[in-house]
Amino acid sequence: MHYCGDFRTTYEKDIEILQTPTTRIGVAAFLVFLVVFPFLVKGEYLWVGLQILIAVIGAVGLNILTGYTGQISLGQGAFFGVGAYTTAYMTTKMGLSFWVGVPAAGLVTAAAGMVFGIPSLRLKGLYLAIATLASQFILEWVFLRWEPVTGGSFGIVVPRPSIGGYVFDSDRSFYYLVLAITVVMVLFAVNIVRTRTGRAFMAIRDHYISAEIMGINLFRYRILSFGISSFYAGVAGALLGHSLKYVTSEQFNLGLSVSYLAMIIIGGLGSILGAIYGAIFMILLPKVLTVLTTKLTMLIPGAAGLAIAMEQGVFGLIIILFLIFEPDGLAHRWRMIKVYWKLYPFSY
């Protein structure tokens, strides 16, 4: 969207990601905040921050597939698992380091995602959703039963990464590592959607026949989209595994897939910023609700059981209300707020 007075006179200016000084200052301030964040909080809130960063990677990846290419996937949770198990196997059983394990996790998951993405050539919409649901069940079964590799029902204990003699053992140090990876992955995603590849994805999403007539190889780009999305899921899953220090099949169930889908819908489909907002919202909301119910329990001890039981219901209710009143997601609302203040008080 361009506004009055927003002129670009060179191509360099036109392809800048951060167009105005305000956004530049805003993003810089946010990055500074992310860097000092571990020193402002500790314990569980630092852990929540770490989980948000990992969720951002996964959500951005899913948004490339679902938001930009229009392919619904219910297998993101299982792809997380593929990544986690790959790095767990490589670091514990093959003795390789984290620095090999995580990229390998991304690549292996990308390959798995491409295989499970093959039905996307023939299937669209809900049909594809069911096909990807199958991948969720198949992979979950594999995690539990392929004992030599996945450790079966016992899972695998994975170490935190180390470089030289330094081990990223504390949540704080690991946070910085994940932060660096997240920033790179998000930047990569922001750029991918501006390239020919990203434009092709959007063309397929908007009208696949027109896209094909325009010379876009549907099969290739659909599979590529699955591959990129799964790569993100794999890296996120690997980081999740290393952050938890333990990988078991219970972590990567359908619930995880659905919550990632919820993240991008709440945040905003087809928007990288939306995926980030959605991840923050979905990870933070249960935590906020827990804090509220604990407070409520202290005030009215009798209501403790009810309040905790209501938590799930309230969680669902908030999501429903969000979808009704904010169908385009948080990213859209953010845009509206910006527009409002840009022209304040002289709106059209």
């Binding site: 500790k42 314990g43 569980e44 630092l46 852990w47 929540v48 989980q51 079964w141 539990l144 079966g152 029902s153 016992f154 899972g155 204990v157 994975v158 935190r160 053992d169 949540d171 938890l244 220090k245 333990y246 078991t248 099949s249 219970e250 972590q251 249960p286 935590k287 827990t290 403790a304 059981g305 905790i308 039981a309 938590e311 799930q312």
Partner: protein, 428 residues
């Protein structure tokens, strides 16, 4: 602090009236206001002093407190059995605190209901770690598995009610403990009991019914190996989910295979479903379930279909004549399920470890673990099938199981089976 402040406010409001009444009309408004301001100041200072005193005494008080975490499921999917277990844990803690705590130090143990949500469990764990707890009383497979990686690197002993055998191998999970026979040992004990009672010449046929879930799968490998060793004919597995509402097709297959025995690795709900459908289909198979499959609530759930089914229990029943029971019954007057007793015992184990650690020096996660590993035939007062022993390499508490049978809606202890503590069974 809050109370004090309230008091101050009350006095502020109350005093000027008293003053104006006593002095009649001689005092001017100005004087009253001044008096009021003075009062306010004094009260403020008083409140601050009181508050400071409370803070200081609180600090002194907290030095005499042992912080322990407690993760429980009261409202989640396993809440029906999680609640009595957690209540057992808390009941023993309250009893010890009322008796003066650990050598004069009170145990501070707030229960947290994580509703079987592992993200919540991890969040709360991070909080516990920040609070520097020396041990955690945990609950099921979900939280125990999710935290197994953390507790061993953070050095916080974790006492769970997930009795998965892999937690007993101290090489892999050095900080995990529990106070009942692991799932596989319980299954082996059941197999041995059935084999001893088998009179026919042919090999008994057995089928394993369990959900495709870590909890169900955990004992299968070790159990099948032992079944073959004992001379059972092992038939193909059947998968019944924990949330199943019917199991007709699976049980029809069990019937067609002609199984003499069937092991159920489920929870009370799924086990009741299996037993009901088995009765409906007229199966002659003898069922035996693991520790969480059958309890006092089963007759209500299965409606009579549970008659003759066996359960591999890790405790006695409420009211049994054992030395440790009168104390439990004096603390908890209403009859409780076996899960309550196991919760009670698990806290008993932790309290003993805290006592031993405290005698040696400062209580830390490491010292509690070391204390737990000094357990040699620790007597639970007969509440468990055997006395508890932990070593630095072997965290199997004991190798005994109380085989209980459902008879006319009541659990009856048939026999206490004791297996040898074989090294090759550790962690499998």
């Amino acid at each position: 602090m809050k109370k004090k402040r309230k008091g101050v406010r009350y006095l502020e409001r109350g005093m000027p009236f008293g003053v104006s009444k006593a002095e009649g009309n001689t005092a001017t408004n100005h004087e009253i206001r001044e008096e009021k301001a003075k009062m306010k100041k004094t009260m403020k200072i008083a409140a601050m002093v009181a508050g400071l005193a409370m803070v200081l005494s609180g600090a002194a008080f907290s030095a005499d407190v042992i912080k322990v975490g407690h993760l429980a499921d009261l409202t989640g999917p396993t809440g029906d059995v999680g609640k009595p277990y957690a209540e057992g844990v808390q009941a023993y803690k309250n009893y010890i605190n009322s008796k003066g705590g650990i050598n004069g130090k009170q145990i501070e143990m707030q229960m947290f209901d994580y509703a079987y949500d592992k993200n919540k469990a991890v969040n709360q764990y991070k909080k516990y770690k920040e609070d520097k707890v020396v041990a955690i009383e945990g609950w099921g497979t979900g939280d125990t598995e999710a935290l197994a990686g953390f507790v061993s690197t953070d050095k916080i002993p974790y006492i769970s009610a997930s009795y998965s055998a892999h937690l007993t191998d101290a090489k892999k999970t050095p900080y995990n403990f529990f106070a009942a026979a692991d799932y596989t040992t319980a299954l082996r004990a059941g197999l041995l009991y059935l084999k001893e009672g088998w009179k026919e010449k042919r090999a008994p046929k057995i089928v394993f019914i369990y959900p495709n879930h870590p909890y169900g799968i955990a004992p299968i490998k070790g159990g099948k190996e032992y079944a073959k060793e004992l001379g059972f004919e092992v038939l193909g597995d059947e998968d019944v989910s924990l949330k199943a509402i019917e199991a007709n097709s699976q049980l029809l297959s069990v019937k067609n295979k002609g199984a003499d025995f069937a092991w159920i690795g489920g929870t009370t709900n799924s086990t009741a479903v299996i037993l009901k459908d088995a009765k409906k289909l007229g199966l002659k198979t003898k069922f035996f379930s693991n520790i969480w499959g059958i309890d006092e609530s089963t007759p209500k759930l299965a409606g009579g279909a549970e008659e003759g089914a066996l359960v591999m229990a890790g405790s006695v029943r409420y009211g049994d004549k054992v030395p440790g029971m009168p104390l439990l019954m004096s603390v908890e007057k209403t009859p409780q399920v076996t899960h309550f007793i196991r919760g009670w015992v698990s806290m008993m184990v932790l309290v003993e470890a805290l006592n031993r650690a405290d005698k040696k020096g400062p209580i830390t996660g490491e010292s509690v673990k070391a204390a737990l590993e000094t357990f040699k035939d620790f007597d639970t007062g007969g509440l468990t099938p055997a006395k508890i022993t932990f070593t630095p390499t072997d965290h199997r508490p004991y190798m005994s199981v109380n085989i209980m049978e459902m008879q006319k809606g009541k659990l009856v202890i048939m026999k206490t089976m004791t297996l040898p503590r074989k090294a090759e069974w550790l962690g499998l």
